[in-house]
Structure formats: C-alpha cells, structure tokens
Symmetry: none
C-alpha cells in the first residue's frame, strides 16, 4: 500500500506497514502485531506524545541505567523491528549497557535474525543468541537468559515485555524499568520504574537525558521511583482525553 | 505454545493464539492482527466483561435482527477466525440471517477460505464469495457486496467493521448494528445500534436473547436504539475504571 505523507495518521500507518513487513520476514511474530495494536490504542488515548510524567520517568531511567553496576536492555522482535537504531544509540550513551536478545517465541533462527538486525543498526556484541542460563519459575523457552547479560544484571530495561517475565525478574531482585503504553498491564504494574510511553520516544528520551548527564551521574543507589503515581498520571491522562473525545463526538453526531 | 488454564489472562491468550494461527494460514492479514490488539486495549479498559449497557444493546440487536425483513451479518477474516462457530449458532437462532463474507483486503483466495471456515463451522450458504454488486462512494474492492446479501438487506450486523464502510451502509438507508470495543471509533459513532463488547461475548449475547424470544418477537418497526447513551455508558464505565485503578495504584505501590 502507498502512503500519503498528508494522511492524518501517516506516522502510525508507516510504523504499521514497517512492522507488517518485518512480520513477513519473520523478525516479528503474529503475537507481536497484536501487541503493537494494543500499544497503538493506548498511545492514541495518551495523545501520541510523551506526557510530562513519562518524561520524568525517562529522566529517572537514565539515572538508574548510568548508576547501575551491570545494566541490560532486553530486546525482542518488535523492539528490533521498531527501534534497533535507538537501541544502538542508547548503548553509545550508556557504555556499560548490555543488549540482550530475549524472545518470547524463540527459535535459533529468529534469535540470530534479531541479533543481526541489531548489529546492522550499530549495536556492539548483542547477547542472548545462545543463552545458557535460566530464570527460575518460568516455562522453558521464556526462561532462557544470557549468563553475561540478564542473569548478572542489577538493572533491566524491558521494553514491550510480558508480565510473567517482568514479575520473574523482580523476584530475582533486579530493578526493572519497563516501557509499555498500557498503564494497566502486568508489566507496568510489576515494574519498579514504569515508563508509559511509545517505544522510540521513550528510548530517545532516556538517551537524551543520559547524554545530558554524561559523566556527571554518580554511582550509588539510584533515586526512588514513584511507580504508583507514574501509572496514576497515565491513567488520568487517558481519562481526560476520553472525556474530551466524547464531548467532541457528541457535538458531531447528528441523530437520525 | 501450551497455555495453562490457571493463567490470569488465559481467555485472551487463547484468543490471541488462535488468531496468530489463523494469520499463519492466511485467513487473517497482518492488519487484522493489529486491529485485534487495538480492540484488546479497549477491552482492558472496559474490564474484559459485558457491561449492563452492552447487554441491553445485545438484547435490542436480537429484536432488530428477528424483526428484519432481510438481516445480514458481514464477516471478515478476523470474525471468521475468532467466531465462526458463534456466527453459525446465531444463524441457527435467526433463520432469515444471511451471512456474507466481506473483506477489506480481498483476494478471491481469501474470500474462498473465509467462506470455507464458515461452512466448516456450520454456516449455511455463505454469500459474498463472488460479489457482483457495489456500494456507491467506496474505493473499488471495499465496495463489493453480494446482490442477495448486503445489497438488499434492511438490517446489517457489522462486527469489527471499518468506519468508511459503516458510514456507506448508513447512507444507503440500512440499519446498522456494530460490534466494536472502541466506543469512539467511526464505526461505533456511525452505527444505529452500537454494541460495545468483545466479539464472541457480543454474538453470544445476541444469540441467547434471540433463542429466548424464539417466535415471540413480532415483525414491524424495531424498537429505537439509544445509540448516544449506549456509547456514553461505555465511556462512563471506562472512566470509572480508570479512576478506580488510578486510586488503587497510588495506594498500592510501596516504593522499594
């Protein structure tokens, strides 16, 4: 399908078309397309921009990652398809950041393809292609992690992660930063620091703050995250937007 | 993937897995998967259950369909994949109900596959495989309808329909019943009777009422539908849920 740049939803249609292509190439699985749709709906409800509260969460996330002993970002097929370049730039801004391929629907071939997509975008040494370690209490495939990556990490950035795995990481004592547009998802609810923002905007926001802080962010315990109020803020934004849209649609709709 | 029945999201995971399978078989297109995700987001916000107001809409829908001279249900790839059996049962409860294949992304092969999936589930004589008629003012493929089905119908039940087509049906003077989880979608806004509920729950609800009424629903003009207040109720449900969840999330999260 050809897209006109003047279409009111050009940006989201372009992302959709790109993801559908990635699905045809096998980088993204069907479940990943469904997840994208959920995210789109929440992004629409959040106004398709970074809210002040999400901006705050992204600034905190940059501090957590810079101060971490062993920070890691977990990358699945959707993240690789939508934001491989942003992941590479984030790693450049946070040199200790490990990048680990982490697939819910894992096959050796998909793991290699995701790693290749990351390398092409400039990621150094992606982990997780042949993961030898395991997270306890998760079904087989989804438990596999890299012994140099998530297993030993203290701070995990998990964009578009599933709820079970987020909860499992927290039980292991990791500090978890999620990126998820659904403030009611189990991932957002379980994360220590939930970033409720669209993937590329969130990664860009974290990176900008990391670049700004450069060497100045000291080590030591990270600042506290007001997880509950970050989520409540997102829910409030959605609520206000729905009310505004409802008022608009009442005006528009002529009875017949 | 094996799913545990005890998983907190068993039902929606099962639906998702079924749709992903249908996509692998070509019954569902990538855009249909993304659309499913958008619906899921609204189902989250509605609490993943039929609201009293949606129940009311489903009861009315049953009356409209029973009293119609020529009722039709329009079936796309997602509907066939998710609810072919429910469609067949609905047709059994409403014997005049025609079932028409109606694809946004139409190829002759997909139309045949959708019709076959319906027949396997028990639908009698699905229409729309070789549609010869057209709805005016719609781009080519999406305008095609069956001369024995939608073209001559007085009441159209359109689950998961796109906004342009819903509006076109209304301009033709059809009474349109939509099933769409987004109360602000152009489809919900354009429908005479918007059912804001998940597809299988909605079809099941309409069928139950049709069975209950059996022969007792008289012919003649259908009762009026309070479309505006049905949509307002759905938005109100979401509003209350968002407020409740926001309050809970502020209370719940002890910082760690």
């Amino acid at each position: 399908m050809r897209l006109s740049r003047r279409h009111p939803r050009y940006q989201s249609l372009k992302v959709r078309a790109g993801l559908a292509d990635a699905a045809r190439r096998g980088l993204v699985v069907p479940e990943g397309l469904i997840a994208q749709g959920r995210g789109e709906a929440f992004d629409y409800l959040l106004g398709e921009r970074t809210t002040p509260s999400a901006r705050r969460a992204e600034r905190l996330a940059a501090r957590w990652l810079l101060r971490a002993r062993a920070p890691v970002i977990s990358v699945n097929g959707n993240v690789a398809a939508l934001a491989a370049r942003e992941v590479a730039l984030l790693q450049r801004a946070i040199p200790r950041l490990a990048v680990e391929v982490n697939l819910f629907h894992r096959t050796p071939r998909r793991a290699r393809e995701v790693a290749r997509a990351l390398e092409r975008a400039g990621v150094r040494r992606p982990l997780g292609v042949r993961p030898a370690a395991r997270i306890p209490h998760l079904p087989s495939d989804r438990a596999r992690v890299d012994a140099e990556g998530i297993l030993v990490a203290d701070v995990c950035l998990v964009p578009l992660e599933d709820g079970d795995r987020t909860e499992a990481l927290r039980r292991l004592g990791k500090r978890v930063i999620s990126i998820d547009l659904n403030p009611l998802s189990r991932t957002s609810l379980a994360a220590d620091l939930p970033v409720v923002d669209e993937l590329t905007r969130a990664l860009g926001g974290i990176r900008q703050e990391a670049v700004r802080l450069a060497g100045s962010a000291s080590r030591g315990p990270p600042p506290r995250a007001p997880a509950g109020s970050l989520l409540a803020d997102a829910l409030g934004t959605i609520d206000r937007r729905l009310k505004r849209e409802a008022a608009r649609s009442r005006r528009r709709r002529a009875p017949r």
